[in-house]
Amino acid sequence: MTKVEVGHHETAHLFGMDFHVDTIVATLVAAVVVLGLAFYLRIRLTSGVPGGVQLFFEAVTVQMRAQVESAVGLRLAPFVLPLAVTLFVFVLLSNWLSVLPVQYGAGELIKPPAADVNFTYALALFVFVCYQAAGMARRGPIGHVKQLLKGHMGWGPMVLINVIEEIAKPLSLALRLFGNMFAGGVMISVIALLPAWLSWGPNAAWKLFDLFVGLIQAFIFALLTVLYFGQATAVDHEKH
């Protein structure tokens, strides 16, 4: 009887810490793919008729630039735009790794890195630190904290809710991506329990759906990052 193992990783111990080797390998593969595309793009870059890779990056850049310009404004764009593009492309390719049917031992060799909280926590924490820093740079450290606590309601009991919201932002950002990609892996494991003559159908269907989920989640991650930047750098104009 095959068992469904949840949250199991190949673990290495080093410097008194645990490292999930499979996640790191998968992330490295995704990084290598992204960097390969990036360097390929750099070589083939043209202002004439763009190739496929350039078209992809251009489409992502244009889309994200529209989001950044509407949510943040142009002042922060030189930083937020590359961040949003990186998040989208990196998360997208990481998620799409899950479609590769590479089996190793009991499980798949390359599981989507987002199925490990370490990956999503790292991204979300980086985003969190960046937009807090951007807020402080825009509104001053004191003004930023005051604005965070006040929110839209002014001083009052809502301050507590605002604190919770501020903590929930990076947590939900990380756990939403994790939950979606993790659930995809769990579904594949469950489908794998079916006999082989039957499991290929649901497997193919689910992997196709996983591609779609991976795209949506990558877009949501990048979009929410832009929106959080927008919220953190908004200046209150309503001084009565």
Binding site: F19, T27, A38, F79
Partner: protein, 152 residues
């Protein structure tokens, strides 16, 4: 499911992997920030500039075409007007020549008629004179014969 291991290490808690993931992400971010997005923005700007330029060229060409068409139309209209004027002038000249020739012909006709009339008149006078000289003896002769025959 190994409940002990899950309890010992909840998979929602990060571990050392976190730092490796962060490092990999920062590397990718740096590459995209420094090497991908700026040239892409540049290329997009270039293409936009090129599109604007092409639109400009098209507008200029359209204006030049419109101007040339205007020139062509006005030249055509001027040529039409010139032609009409020339035609009118030629018609006037022709009419003048016609009138002059007609007058000339009438003068000549009148002259010829006058000459012929005068000539006829002289000839008639001459003929009358000639008849006068011959008619008188003839009348006498005739009267003698009539009178003389009555006497016979």
């Amino acid at each position: 499911m190994r409940a002990e291991s899950l309890a010992a290490e909840n998979f929602l808690l990060p571990n050392g992997t976190f730092f490796v993931e962060l490092a990999i992400f920062l590397l990718v971010f740096a590459v995209i920030w420094l090497f991908v997005v700026p040239p892409i923005r540049e290329v997009l700007d270039q293409r936009e500039a090129r599109v604007t330029e092409a639109a400009d060229h098209r507008r200029q060409a359209r204006e030049a075409f419109a101007a040339a068409e205007d020139r062509y139309r006005s030249a055509l209209a001027r040529a039409h007007a010139d032609a009409a004027r020339l035609r009118e002038q030629a018609r006037n000249e022709g009419r003048a020549i016609l009138v002059a020739n007609r007058d000339h012909a009438r003068d000549r006709t009148d002259e010829m008629v006058a000459t012929a009339t005068a000539e006829l008149r002289t000839q008639a006078a001459a003929a009358a004179a000639r008849f006068d000289t011959r008619l008188d003896p003839l009348a006498h002769d005739l009267a003698d014969r009539v009178i003389g025959g009555g006497r016979r």
